[in-house]
Subunit: 205 residues, 2 copies
């Protein structure tokens, strides 16, 4: 699929909800302007940006602005050849992403929530001992190998990698035992990490 | 797109997160088994069901079970001819759905939350005076007419209708003034409601 040549992604200067999109574009070697805004700039810039629903990331192309990170990610996956043409395979990949997101959001809600320090730590610990392991066990059962849906990588494999880098790695014990307890999941993470497609991106980062 | 003839959707006997999928299948005249479980049955049946991530709805076909309501809905939209072939139009439709979902979830979190009665009512009132109107104003600006993305309906139009029936109608003042304050949105809701495609479904319901 031919990609537009005027893609501009605008998001905070952090991984957050923008990194999945950046990784997908990078994987498909789709050129895009990676416009990053610092938290310091956000207040002043917010009013000058076209934000369809008041939030970032946004993607601009053909003079129009699009919002919502997963919707943009699915578009990026299509341009990068990662979105399955078979509707049932696409259902499976989309479903894995939503399952990861749902669990990741539990973690994010605690991190950005307003609990006192002890309560927050207790909840975070619980994520590491219960919430994340349960997700990983469920995901492990779905892997068809070598990737989530079989021979070809999809956007779900890239999202798993993003989740690993920016959530699972916050739990050293869980991360250390990943290859032992969830070998198929660990293998996907390794494959994405070592893919030729992302080598340039990681060199830049 | 040829639909499988063995589709079975399993969900609670309520609209909730299953109704969007039912409406999409109905719109495309795609036959499916509408398996409904009561809250009374749920406890006993849960262990006997194949639930990839512990939740409903699930969709079974070809001997495999799929989860996550929006992923299933996207699949249903493809079978029903409602998922846009153009990736940018699909991005727009997916984005509108995610924006509606995000706001609907704010409402659901209050309804199913554990606040005391007065706090709950205050939060619900705030949704009706602020949260929902802000979403509606943002959505209204995106409508290309007569449907969200132009001439052809997409799954986003069906989702808006679902949101109207099961959330907006809980706010009589807002719902009553919909046609005056958000005429394009109101027109989409009317069009979906009166579509020939859904006439049989509404006759059954």
């Amino acid at each position: 699929m031919e990609a537009p040549t005027d893609l501009r992604l605008t998001y905070f200067n952090m991984p957050g909800r923008g990194e999945f999109i950046r990784l997908l574009f990078a994987y498909g070697n789709v050129p895009f302007e990676d416009s990053r805004i610092t938290f310091q700039e956000w207040g002043a810039k917010k009013a000058t940006l076209d934000l369809p629903f008041g939030q970032m990331p946004i993607l601009e192309t053909h003079g129009k602005t699009y919002a919502q990170s997963l919707a943009i990610a699915r578009y990026a996956a299509k341009l990068s050849g990662l979105y399955p043409a078979d509707p049932l395979v696409a259902l499976e990949a989309d479903s894995l992403i939503d399952a990861i997101l749902e669990t990741w959001d539990v973690y994010n809600d605690i991190v950005y929530g307003h609990d006192d320090k002890d309560t927050k730590q207790q909840k975070l610990d619980n994520v590491g001992t219960t919430t994340f392991p349960r997700l990983l066990a469920n995901l492990e059962k779905r892997v068809k190998e070598p990737f989530f849906t079989g021979d070809k990588p999809t956007h779900a494999d890239i999202y798993l990698f993003d989740f690993h880098q920016h959530a699972l790695l916050e739990y050293p014990t869980l991360a250390k035992e990943l290859a032992t307890n969830y070998p198929k999941i660990a293998a996907i993470v390794e494959r994405v990490h070592n893919s030729n497609e992302l080598a340039t991106y990681f060199k830049k980062a």
